[in-house]
């Protein structure tokens, strides 16, 4: 990290103006991510933001960091490769519910158990926005969408519970209507050692007339307001599964454990302090002898 930090929130913004619908929940996250980076004093060149496909996945276009948009659902593996290649980087994945929980669901599960130190932020709007409003993995049962005109007949995924059950070491939920809390959650996620996951209630003002800003404002409740123990697995699961506070939608850090090793700390090269992106290509005589000996 540089000794003198003199970047402002504007410095993390590209010349490309966001193309989201005016009033979209993604704007709050665009700001919160930049705000968190400034407050944590992480210079733009040390940040990589990786996305998939969907409205939210346009995000890296609008940021002045190293930005990489992948294909649908593949942000997590590409980000994992980046982080393992160069653990000095702060690597964020940003995508929607369709991207991360739907088509990319397998990677989501495995990144939770793998505990590579990347941050995954999901803009969850309960619908496919970019393809004009189809049901997604989080669409509540009974919801009428363009692909479910008689109401959705599938149960939605519970991303918080799935993440905790799959071994994630940082699991949180934010709301695009609460910038201060969202920024703090993202800061905590970046600071967390290991895989950090943040689900964000982010209303789609065009295709979702049910999960609106007003709907969430009425229902959200901060976990710290009722003394939740984020280090307790069972309390976190109860909260995630709505065994408590049934009529509310809790936000904040559901679960965080810090006394466990990250993938980087277990990896046989990285735990020697090797940074693959900064390693000489050439093998030493000793290495060549070691890998060819069995063939003589």
């Amino acid at each position: 990290m540089s000794n003198e930090f003199n970047f402002s929130i504007k410095d993390y913004q590209s010349d490309f103006k966001p193309t989201w619908c005016p009033g979209c929940g993604n704007f709050a996250q665009w700001r919160a991510i930049r705000q968190a980076l400034v407050e944590l004093e992480i210079p733009p060149e040390e940040v990589v933001l990786v996305s998939g496909i969907g409205c939210s996945s346009h995000m890296p276009n609008f940021l002045n960091v190293y930005g990489l948009q992948t294909v649908h659902g593949r942000g997590i593996p590409v980000a994992t490769g980046i982080r393992l290649a160069n653990p000095e980087l702060t690597v964020l994945v940003y995508g929607g519910d369709g991207d991360i929980y739907g088509i990319g669901g397998n990677h989501f599960l495995h990144s939770c158990r793998r505990n590579v130190d990347i941050i995954t932020i999901v803009s969850n709007n309960f619908v496919y926005g970019l393809t004009t409003g189809q049901a997604s993995a989080t669409t509540p049962i009974g919801t009428v969408t363009r692909t479910t005109p008689r109401g959705s007949i599938e149960n939605p995924i519970n991303p918080i519970a799935v993440a905790i059950a799959s071994g994630a070491t940082f699991v949180a939920r934010g709301f695009s209507g609460d910038m201060t809390q969202l920024t703090n959650i993202i800061k905590a996620a970046i600071d967390h050692r290991g895989f950090a996951f943040v689900d964000v209630f982010s209303p789609c003002i065009t295709f979702n007339k049910k999960q609106t800003f007003a709907y969430f404002r009425d229902k959200v409740m901060k976990v710290e307001d009722f003394g939740h123990d984020k280090e307790d697995f069972h309390s976190a699961m109860d909260l995630a599964n709505r065994r408590i506070l049934r009529n509310k939608l809790p936000t904040g850090i559901f679960y965080q454990i810090e006394n466990t090793t990250t993938y980087e700390e277990r990896d046989f090269a990285l735990n020697q302090g090797i940074i693959p992106a900064k390693t000489d290509l050439e093998l030493s005589d000793e290495q060549i002898n070691a890998i060819t000996e069995e063939f003589y």
Partner: protein, 582 residues
Amino acid sequence: MKEDIVVRFVGSAGDGLVSLGLLFGKILKKHNMNVLGFRSYQSVIRGGYNSYQIRFSDKEVLSVGEDADIIVLLNKHVAELHNPLVNSGARVIYDNDNIDLEELEYPEDIIKLSLPSVSIAKEITNIKVIKNSVVFGAISFLLGLDIKLIKEVIVEQYGIKGEEVIKINYEALDKGISFAKEKMWTPIWVKGKYEKARQMIIGGNEALALGMLSAGLKFYSGYPMTPATSIVHFLTKYLPKLGMIVKQTEDELAAVGMAIGAAYCGVRSATSTSGGGFALMTELIGMAGIEEIPLVVINSQRAGPSTGMATKTEQSDLFQVYGASQGEFPKVIIAPKSIDEAFLTGIKALEIAEKYQVVVIVLMDLYLSEQIATVKKLDFKRTNKRYAILEKAPKDYLRYRITETGVTPRTLPGTKEGMFFTGSSERREEGTSIASTLAGLPSTLPIRENMMKKRMRKMDVLLKELPKPEVYGSKDADITIISWGSTSNIVKEAITILNNNGIKANQLHLMYINPFHSEEVLKILKKAKETLCVEQNFSGQMRDYIRMKTGFNIKNSLLRYDGEPIVPSQIVNKVKEVVQNE
């Protein structure tokens, strides 16, 4: 005197055929023989019918051979199954305590050599595998091998297990030899002195892996799939020493995704799979193409379609890899024919990928991936040379600036003021997308056109750097045989046989498949009196590919798609038929 010897061990999965084959290969290597070995097997962990065939000679060995000089039957079950494959004149070594060749109705025109290896081994120890050393002893008598050299190999292989193990192996060897002597077996290969030389004996996948390591491979991700998995096994074995990342992933999409992520950071990266996994990777391969991220993908082909025959060889993915992913982007395809070429390919693939910021697909096939052969010492490159990477961001840096060669030097994450956006959508020179709000506007039409041209231009520049195809063999041949991948060396062997039979044949082997030297290939084909394309698939993919690239119609095809490698006699017979029909 025979020029070469073929030995075939026949057993079941679980009989330790792979280590047996490798040990025998090492013994022969010690005698300075050229060796080629290949295992034929099925997708089971225990049981089934397996054979490990090894061919050796003091001359070049180009295929695993056909008729066996020595067949070793390791159990009764496989002895029964192997009956139809026994050729006349073969010396069949079997344990007469549990195998009765009369009862199994083995042919009369073979030489039956009974060897009660289990009971001989029991005189020494209770360790069952020691019977194999008894067999080695008997074989070494038949082949006139040097017992001292065999013992050297045993020390090298088992020394770590302690003196007792060495001692009983020695004893078993000696007993095997004495038994053969007593029963007056007739040696079939008597060599005088063996010159010692430092050769390697190595498999196709391992040679490819060594090539990549030699070129600075530092990141490898993969999902297990036969016959590509042994690359990951090999790299993982030496992991702490290599200081690199090897990652087994949740699926092939993650495997290729992680390799792309690492390559984006400037790390030389690769992933491997077979046809099925490759199909899953294709969308991200296209992304690496448009984002101009260097990527090496190895597809070791096996018999398809779908799960097909998982342990059998084929060359049927040419069109899959050529057409992989939607749209058009530069895509390099390299198909090595041999262990040496696999090593070279490992180096070239990583270098080309980085230099041109392109996807390089290495097309192996099961027969090459899984064969072992002796090679001269592999030449590890000693260079740290990097291509098209900027240490500092220049003023007015544009990641995708249009250039003459199509290649734009790139910054890596971490480089100050070098930040850029890249995405899977079409873009402007700075990297941002034109797809969401600008595509179709008159001002963006040339942007799209120029970006396409920039990317595709890299193939033209690369082609100039690639070696031109050469014809092997006589210039005024009666027939030119075209081949690719592992079949090429088998064709080369057939050409020698044909020449000895008075038929002049030459060969065009195609290692660099895309970009393609169309003009040079067309010139060669036009000169040919007759043409034959030999490949391991149903539809003649290389023949069709050549027609597409050159307009030339290769008249004859020899196709094999039953899962076993083509053998020289098939090629010889086909050529005779073609030449005689003229």
